[in-house]
Amino acid sequence: MPTLVVKEVDRSSEIVHFADEHQIIRSGSRTLTWERGQERWELPFPSAIAQRLLGRSRMARRALRWDKCNVVPAQDGNRLIVVLGGSVYEVDADAGTWRPTLALRQCRNVLHQSIARRGSTLVFGEYGANPERESVPVHCSRDDGRTWQPVFEFEPGSARHVHGVFWDPHTSTWWVSTGDFNGECHLQRLSETFEPLQRIGDGSQLYRTCFLWFTPTHVYWTMDSQLETTFAVRLDRSTGVVERLQAMPGPVWYAKALTDGVFLAATACESGPSVRGPFAHLYASGDAQTWHEVARFPHDGLPRRWFKAGVLGFADGEQSSTDFWMFGEALRGIEGQAWRCTLAQAPSPAHDPGLSASSRGLGLAQSAIVEASWPGSIADLEGQKPSFRRATIPGLVALTTSSDAVRRPWARALMRFIAVRKDQIRPRFMTRWPSQADREAAALVISVVLLQTSIRERDPRYLNAVYSLDAAKVLPRVRWSDRLGPALSLAPATRLAGHVRAVIASLEAETSEGTWR
């Protein structure tokens, strides 16, 4: 079962809209960045003066929803289709022009990954507050975003808005999911030419979803309800029977099917009776039926109404579990950032809810290691008998992202060394790494390796070794003076020290609440 490993932290991107092996489209500070092969475009949003001034602040962007937009790459030319501020634009990246192609009736933008594509046909439905419950349109472009036509309309009062449009390759039909309140949640099937075929569901929260997965025999989704307990759900295509599979601790806004058969779903931390705790949870599944918690992120505590619910999102495009992008809003650790991640196969702490907080902390620690830009090379350790004497900083850094099989013998050797040579830890570290910066880096990375092993193998002996490192005063403390650097940011090593200490603290808390067995 998987655990989250962070490969890259992009602090300048608030959203990664699309990523595959050829290109990546991100946005941050009201600028779109499109990288495709060797080409790179920077496309500032069309903004009024107030937006340009206020939009420099992340807090203002959050409060005013000015960070939000949706981007789909066109299939031909250097063009992007962008939904922003109530309009759909065709953006010519070479010329840097934003040509409005459609004015939206009820919304400024739509949910991420909710725009369906089939060849050069793009389809999406409007996602607005719609207080009067007017009719909700579904728009279609058959020329890859150059022109748009309404192709379907939900009659007034039948839906608040559209959550997403999805192409079902098994039946060659479009599926449109709607919300939000009872009587408004349906799955509307449309033919290839947008003729209504079937409206599935009784309008209840069971049918409220933002993402669908299709198999030949079933349709899967995860509920998006802050009103009722959220479940992973399965519809049997032949019998029409809808089955609740597994409860989740909050509504799922965003989900993603990865190319290697792994499914991701993220619960949102909003307000409502179905939201169990102040966390957004990241779940992974191999079959869309059984879900395992991979990580959880606490809400950052700002008022949710003004500064958003805590949400994790995923980039559109073909990605695998070894390389995918996610981004976060209003969540501690990932707020306003995008992470490139991999899911490492490892014994999962998912069955012990407590340990997941430590896993999350480890994700942050790994991101700090990436950010510190310490060199990493597993070649340093290969062919070596694991021992403290042979450990190098590049080797240790590489261990933090290596497989369990590679990491385990080194972690065991380090743990034994620390336990047996307790009174010699500091002198040995001083001899091995005379520079204080190197010594601190080595101690921190060793701590991450030990904590990873402790969590994955459910073995507190490794945590004990981290305490021993701390007692030997080789593990750096978080100094307040480090917070006074440029822009009040912490130095990478200090940030890592903070994350390591946070993992230790959460493991302490989890040890009191749960069991290591």
């Binding site: 336990a419 307790k422 009174d423 002996r461 004990n464 007692a471 302490e508 040890t511 009191s512 290591w516």
Partner: protein, 271 residues
């Protein structure tokens, strides 16, 4: 068992060891012929160095508790080896005096692994050694007896090898993992063949000090009965596989505290 049957030796970590005294007295009462008692000198530079390396600052605390606070622990109510020794009149608290009274030869050495000890064991054709402490034993000594060296480990083997295993078992919420195991020593740490396992329920014991005292109080009886069983063939040593268990090390104060909190909670629920 009659006198003049197989010779047994007792290893002791110090002349003041109540555990050693109790074991010697109990072996004698059960008719086991103790041919030699080997006592390790309390203070030698190498011993201090070795224990300091192993225990660090904890050694100072340990010494303070053992040597300075001895009266206080002995006064504690509940089962303890001191209470057991005084209740059953097991020796005088000085091993040399007990040896003289029971007419058992003894030698005081700096290192239990030294050549004179090995030679003495060979000369006396000692069948087995009952070790009541004194550090790791090396191969020549382990091979100098017919059946081997017995040790009573304060934990359940093979799962909990090494140090502080009572605390580690509590940290795992493994309340069945607390107890005593008598085993033959080999080169590894608590990896030798097992003679008998004696789980000890925590009952209402809410501190590790009290729990360890309870366990300690039961150790002489356990090791003596295992020695007798080994000598008369009623107990067959069961070998351990290395992979059957894990070695634990000295627990750090933070985890000790968490383990004790778990013990308190478990004791409360059992009380």
């Amino acid at each position: 068992m009659e006198m003049n049957e197989p010779v047994v030796a007792v290893f002791s970590p110090s002349v003041k060891s109540l555990y050693s005294t109790a074991v010697l007295e109990m072996l004698h009462r059960r008719g086991v012929r103790v041919g030699l008692v080997v006592i390790r000198r309390m203070f030698t530079p190498s011993r201090v160095r070795q224990e300091l390396r192993r225990d660090g600052f904890r050694l100072v605390r340990k010494a303070y508790k053992k040597l300075i606070l001895r009266e206080r622990t002995s006064a504690a109510s509940g089962p303890s080896i001191r209470n057991a020794v005084s209740e059953q009149a097991l020796g005088e608290g000085d091993l040399r005096r007990t040896c003289r009274r029971l007419d058992v030869p003894f030698m005081v050495v700096s290192d239990l692994n030294s050549d004179p000890v090995v030679d003495a064991l060979r000369q006396l054709e000692v069948r087995c050694v009952v070790s009541t402490g004194g550090g790791l034993l090396r191969e020549p000594l382990l091979e100098a007896t017919g059946l081997g060296v017995l040790n009573c480990h304060m934990g359940i083997l093979p799962q909990y090898r090494g140090m502080d295993v009572v605390e580690w078992a509590a940290l795992y919420d493994d309340w069945g993992g607390i107890g005593l195991t008598t085993h033959l020593m080999d080169r590894g740490v608590d990896t030798g063949p097992i003679l008998q396992i004696h789980p000890v329920p925590i009952a209402g014991t809410s501190t590790f000090t009290a729990l360890r005292q309870r366990l300690h109080a039961e150790m002489p009886d356990q090791i003596v009965s295992a020695a007798c069983g080994l000598l008369d063939g009623t107990i067959i040593p069961a070998p351990q596989k290395k992979s059957d268990g894990r070695q634990f090390f000295i627990i750090e104060p933070a985890l000790h505290e968490l383990a004790e909190a778990k013990l308190r909670a478990a004791a409360k629920s059992r009380a």
